[in-house]
């Protein structure tokens, strides 16, 4: 149902909802960015919709709401384990269309690939998603190439324009709260083109895994992992045990974000590791994002948000890499014929 209302009214509604939900949205943090003296836009708790940064793309995605950077799984003593409590409140997350597609990628891994992940599910079940529209494409976005520029899978769409607010609600609680507001036909803003256009190759022959093409990335990438950490569809983690005092018997097991670009990701006992070469790590990531994930699950993993390109301190462009790979694939096909 679509409505036109006011900022004051919608803030009052969210203030009410905040009794049961923590509200997360992209916010501006001044002077906090990757590059000196640049603001960073990342997710934080809000109490008022005017705190939301609608005009720019967030540097980090919403994923930390469902997959915290560090999450306690259980507490232990020597002979006992106790599952960590779930947060009491649910969550409301403001996010853009591409990220809402990213949510489906997270769902696929955490709810469908193998056993259901208890920790993800218990947060996911209590989370509502509110779409923020995109009037214009941002730098490095290529959502249109990935087909993620639109989404209907939201609990609500909210557009704030000064004191006027447009809402399209799929959520009964919100419909009830907005009863009496002016009904309106509301269509989410979405882009129809991006400056960055990416052509994903249909198939990539395994012979190209060792192509000299990847060496350039091997020379440039410093394995900092930032591209993974900002990515809404990177979901890997590593488990860590923490104990409270040196000789204590109590502690907790946590999971923390892991990155396939960072050293140690594939380490095995005896110092053996796969993909020591950083170019091969780039190849591994690129193939996962736009090739092998699709073969397994039916859609590309990458949703084209461009955050990896925004953040890389070495100015490595993932979008360019895909396009170059596409050319390489086409050339190799031509050579064969």
């Amino acid at each position: 149902m679509g409505y036109q209302t006011t900022l004051a009214k919608i803030n009052a509604i969210f203030s009410d909802l905040s009794k049961d939900y923590v509200i997360y949205a992209p916010k501006r943090f001044v002077g906090d960015g990757t590059f000196t003296n640049i603001d960073t836009i990342r997710y934080g708790e809000i109490t008022d919709l005017s705190e939301i940064e609608f005009a720019e793309k967030s540097n980090y995605s919403f994923k930390e709401v469902l997959l915290p950077i560090s999450e306690t799984l259980f507490y232990f003593t020597e002979n006992e384990m106790k599952e960590a409590d779930a947060p009491k409140k649910g969550a409301i997350v403001f996010l853009r269309s591409c990220d809402l597609h990213g949510l489906k990628r997270m769902d696929t891994i955490y709810l469908e690939n193998g056993a259901v992940d208890t920790y993800y599910k218990r947060l996911r079940d209590k989370t509502k998603f509110i779409l923020m529209g995109c009037e214009n494409s941002f730098e490095n976005c290529f959502c249109v190439s990935m087909g993620t520029q639109k989404s209907d899978d939201y609990d609500a769409y909210i557009k704030v324009d000064g004191n006027a607010v447009l809402v399209d609600s799929h959520w009964d609680l919100l419909d009830a709260a907005l009863a009496g507001a002016t009904e309106a036909s509301v269509m989410p803003d979405s882009v129809t083109a991006n400056n960055t256009v990416v052509t994903v190759p249909e198939t990539v022959p395994q012979t190209l895994f060792d192509a000299p093409f990847w060496e350039d990335y091997g020379n440039r990438c410093i394995a900092c992992g930032r591209c993974n950490f900002v990515c809404p569809t990177c979901t890997c983690f590593t488990m860590q045990d923490i104990f409270y005092t040196d000789n204590g018997k109590a502690g907790e097991r946590r999971r923390v974000w892991a990155s396939c670009h960072v050293d140690g990701y594939t380490d095995m006992a005896g110092g053996h590791a796969f993909r020591n070469d950083k170019g091969q790590r780039m190849r591994f990531k690129v193939m996962h994002k736009v090739n092998d994930y699709k073969r397994r699950f039916g859609t590309h993993m990458c949703i084209g948000c461009g955050r990896c390109d925004d953040v890389c301190p070495e100015y490595i462009s993932f979008a360019n890499c895909i396009n170059k790979l596409n050319t390489l694939v086409n050339d190799s096909v031509k050579e064969e014929n």
């Binding site: 799984l73 208890t118 999971r255 990701y265 095995m268 993909r275 091969q280």
Partner: protein, 265 residues
């Protein structure tokens, strides 16, 4: 509905410890659920972390875990847990399907600790020799001091064709020497294009062995391997074991060679 939390391990009792070498022990653990050879458990020690360990034997209400002491978690198991209990999660992975090998001529080639994940297969055909046409167990160890499952070998030799070899002999050793590959041509096989090969061990050993099996006429689709990779969650979430579109912890670690050969890290 209560959802079972797959990350929380259960307590399992150590009912016996079998010492093979200084650094390789088999821990016989209580476990009564379904389990197949080639599947693995995560041995999960509070404060130290987890280590994926293959099932090396299946008993009545027990599973065997043969553990090599190599680092943080495994050191702790050896030093402090003997005679007590261990936390486990699992079993995980697909494991070997005995049905694929029944009625066939079988060559099983293992290198060192690679024998653990396939030991359940050997145990099975040693107990049911009539379930296959023939069974050759070909195992290589580094030296006579590294030989695992000595007692089991005595049992296996009764019903199976067993060839054991070591890379480097020591004084007084009078068994076979050299790499496993050199013994493959000597194994009597009637129809090599129907025979089954099962190969588990270090990557180089597996590669050379498979080449040799091809040389004597084995078909790709009749060869099975088990892949060891970095693992963490064991349940398709953490990403560490993924190669191409394959999660080793879910789809493996056992693969038919027609699929396994395409796995490039």
């Amino acid at each position: 509905m209560t959802v079972i939390n797959p990350y929380i391990p259960f307590l399992s009792e150590i009912v016996a410890v079998i010492k093979h070498t200084e650094i390789e022990f088999t821990f016989r653990m209580t476990y009564s659920g379904e389990v197949k050879p080639g599947q693995f458990f995560e041995v999960s020690l509070p404060k130290f972390g987890e280590a994926p360990i293959s099932v090396s034997g299946i008993g009545d209400g027990t599973v065997d875990l043969t553990i090599r002491k190599v680092g943080k978690v495994t050191d702790e198991i050896f030093e402090n847990y003997v005679g007590d209990t261990l936390f486990l999660r699992g079993p995980y992975g697909n494991g070997f399907d005995i049905a694929n090998y029944k009625g066939k001529e079988i060559i099983l080639v293992a290198g060192g600790t690679g024998l653990s994940p396939v030991k359940g297969i050997v145990d099975y055909f040693s107990a049911h020799p009539d379930d296959c046409k023939s069974f050759t167990l070909l195992v290589g160890f580094k030296s006579p001091n590294d030989v695992l499952f000595k007692k089991d070998f005595e049992e296996w030799e009764k019903n199976l064709n067993v060839i054991m070899t070591v890379d480097t002999p020591v004084d007084g050793y009078c068994g076979k020497c050299g790499l496993v590959t050199q013994y493959i041509p000597e194994i009597p096989i009637e129809n090599s294009d129907q025979a089954v090969g099962i190969v588990v061990g270090p990557p180089m050993m597996m590669k050379c062995t498979i080449t040799e099996l091809f040389n004597v006429g084995f078909k790709e689709e009749n060869i099975w391997i088990s892949q060891e990779r970095k693992m963490c969650c064991g349940i398709g979430k953490c990403g560490h074991c993924k190669i191409d579109d394959t999660y080793i912890c879910l789809d493996g670690p056992v693969f038919n060679y027609t699929k396994g050969k395409f796995l490039k890290d």
